[in-house]
């Protein structure tokens, strides 16, 4: 589904990603772990098309198509979803109206009519139930005054509504207490299918108890330096990252 080949990227003179290779197949969950400043969030933003970063080398292919020249919205229309580490507050736009606009803009780009209002309402209701979201929450301004946990749950709500092929969850676990974490993880698990894939970016192994990855990758200094299965996450949790640095030297 997603193939990243020798990806180099950065801002102006500073290279942040220094040759990343990653292959994600449909139905798989990949976890990317690593210390602060390794480039994890940059990696997520670049896949989503953030224009502040410049890709100097390499390719990002989604189902064989190079995403290089596509705007963020075009990538979204093709099924890429990024759950933000810091979701942005947009006063004056309600959660419901935002997601309606996002869904119908995506449908428009795909040559479809607007989703019928009844269908939209039912979907909103079902997803809100799945994620244990209070209906009142949906008529509030997007992320405005939300707690950290509410913001993250709202990200997963949008993900469920947009039903992406590739979801990238950037530190979705930060700011969540254990109950919220379980609800979010449960939501992600229910949305899994053999046709979609998830990349989970996290500092801690904790989330991976609930969203169990098929592969775990360690990102350090702009490169994936080690890959393994879920046991690698447990090892990182108990031993930290220094042993990997030593191994590399």
């Amino acid at each position: 589904m997603l193939a990243i080949k020798n990806l180099h990227a950065g801002v102006e003179e500073k290279e942040i990603l220094k040759g990343i290779n990653l292959e994600v197949n449909p139905g798989e969950i990949h976890a990317i772990m690593g210390p602060n400043g390794a480039g994890k969030s940059t990696f997520a933003s670049i896949i989503a098309g953030k224009e502040d970063f410049e890709v100097s080398q390499g390719q990002i292919l989604l189902e064989g198509e190079d995403l290089a020249d596509l705007a963020p919205e075009e990538r979204a229309h093709k099924g890429v979803f990024l759950s933000f580490q810091y979701p942005v507050e947009i006063p004056g736009v309600t959660v419901t109206n935002f997601i309606k606009t996002a869904i119908n803009e995506t449908r428009k780009a795909q040559g479809l009519e607007d989703m019928p209002a009844g269908e939209m309402l039912k979907k909103i209701k079902d997803v809100a139930e799945l994620l244990d979201i209070d209906r009142k929450f949906l008529s509030r301004s997007l992320n405005e005054g939300f707690s950290g946990g509410e913001k993250k749950r709202n990200e997963i709500f949008q993900m469920a509504m947009l039903d992406p092929k590739l979801a990238i969850l950037d530190e979705t676990d930060s700011g969540l207490d254990i109950d919220a974490l379980k609800i979010v993880a449960n939501g992600v698990n229910k949305l899994r299918s053999k046709d979609n894939a998830v990349i989970v970016i996290t500092h801690y192994q904790r989330l991976l108890d609930y969203i169990v990855p098929d592969f775990v990758h360690v990102l350090m200094d702009g490169k994936i330096v080690k890959s393994g299965t879920k046991e690698l996450a447990l090892e990182l949790e108990s031993k930290g990252y220094d042993w990997i640095k030593e191994e590399l030297n």
Binding site: E73, A76, V88, A102
Partner: protein, 437 residues
């Protein structure tokens, strides 16, 4: 001959158009003297520091159209609020159009000023109210001296006007270099209620300058909502002077939507003469190219226990220039006042300008006055967030601007008008999302 001298001598020459026995003969004579003394405002005056009229005040300007010009309903229908029934007072090149108007004398008077000035039964109202709140600055005096026509609304006590009143001034462009002087007098007595929509609309690309004066008297417990739609052609300029006198427990609100025109200057003054009066002024300015919109507001708090609330949002693209000059003047008797003023601006382009100048003069010692002013750009993080969710850049920008202006839109009390303004904004931003925030 300079324009000022030309106007003064034309006043003398056309003295016969004023009925010398008429009720406002003396007022006009005083006004022309006042204009002679003060002349046109210049950038030297503090209140006009950021807005120059020089380029508009061409010597060829003339106040009186030479002929009557008609317009077809089909050409102007779109400028009316057609999905609801309204009263209409319509002028074409400064002359009343009975064909396009729908007036009434049924319990209330919604008609024309020229009629009110010429009939004895209106004399008491004219004597009590005409030119009683307008100041004697140069532009208002010029209007007072020459104005012949405008809307006349008299709403007696306890009357609620059941449908909105549209006051529309069309300009055909058949004659160029006209300087129109519309004059509205609106008297709303105790506990009466009226909603008014005002529009100046040029129908061609010829230049026109309008110097409009509106006086509004809001009686005790009366309620007036006034909406100004300024979405004129690129060569049309407007100097709007609106003066509102409020008695106790009255509510007056003015919304100004400035989306078009070449140069627009809004002088909007509220005078609170009674306790517990409430004044609201909201505005959305959305301009581009080299358009210029200047909001010059004054709230004069004279009585205690009053409130005033101002919320002006501005979005400026290309080389557009905005001015916000908001003055709150609190007399020492005006204790327990709650005054709020907010002015937020977004500059879309590096070449756009906003000059924002809040002024508070407070002589009372027990008041609550707050004001805030921001100048910023569209939030790039918010734009990326929305785009990453599939909303294209243009639509995302539009949605952010809608959200920015939403407070003001929400406070429009006529749903059809709100819809109309929503559409105007969408058209202006060239998007087709039916926002429903």
């Amino acid at each position: 001959m300079e324009l000022k001298e030309k106007f003064i001598s034309s006043f003398l020459a056309v003295d016969d158009f004023i009925d010398s026995h008429g009720p406002i003969y003396d007022i006009r004579n005083t006004a022309i003297k006042s204009f002679e003394e003060k002349g046109f405002p210049t950038k030297k005056s503090e209140a006009w520091k950021y807005t120059a009229l020089n380029s508009l005040l061409k010597n060829e300007l003339s106040i009186f159209p030479k002929q009557e010009n008609a317009v077809e309903l089909k050409d102007v229908r779109k400028y009316f609020l057609h999905d609801i029934d309204t009263y209409k007072v319509v002028f074409v090149d400064g002359k009343y159009s009975s064909f396009l108007s729908q007036t009434t004398h049924d319990g209330v008077d919604i008609c024309l000023l020229s009629a009110a000035l010429s009939k004895d039964k209106y004399l008491p109202v004219i004597e009590n109210y005409f030119n009683k709140v307008a100041p004697n600055d140069g532009m208002s005096s010029l209007n007072t001296a020459f104005a012949r026509e405008g809307a006349y609304l008299y709403i007696p006590k306890h009357k609620e006007v059941e449908k909105p009143v549209e006051i529309i001034n069309f300009y055909t462009g058949v004659e160029t270099d006209l300087m129109l002087q519309p004059r509205n007098l609106i008297v709303v007595e105790e506990n009466a209620h009226v909603q008014i929509i005002e529009r100046h609309q040029s129908l061609s690309s010829n230049a026109v300058l309008t110097n409009s004066v509106t006086e509004i008297f809001v009686g005790a417990r009366a309620h007036v909502d006034y909406y100004k739609i300024q979405n004129d052609q690129k060569e049309a300029s407007l100097i709007d002077n609106t003066y509102i006198k409020q008695e106790r427990d009255s509510i007056a609100s003015v919304h100004t939507f400035s989306f078009g025109g070449k140069l627009t200057r809004n002088n909007l003054n509220f005078y609170q003469h009674g306790e517990h009066a409430s004044s609201v002024m909201n505005g959305i300015t959305l301009i581009e190219d080299t358009q210029h919109v200047d909001h010059n507001t004054l709230v004069h708090h004279i009585a205690p226990n009053c409130t005033s609330h101002q919320d002006y949002k501005g979005v400026f693209n290309d080389r557009a220039v905005g001015v916000f000059n908001g003055k709150i003047y609190v007399e020492k008797e005006a204790q327990k006042l709650d005054a709020f003023q907010q002015n937020n601006n977004i500059l879309i382009s590096d070449k756009a300008t906003i000059n924002a100048k809040p002024q508070l003069e407070i002589f009372a010692d027990d008041v609550k006055c707050s004001h805030g002013c921001t100048i910023g750009q569209l939030d790039q993080d918010a734009l990326f967030y929305m785009r990453a969710r599939g909303i294209a850049e243009k639509e995302a920008k539009a949605l952010l601007m809608y959200a920015f202006a939403n407070n003001v839109l929400e406070s429009v009390r006529i749903p059809e008008l709100k819809k109309r303004i929503n559409k105007l904004i969408a058209l202006k931003m060239n998007v087709q999302i039916g926002f429903d925030l």
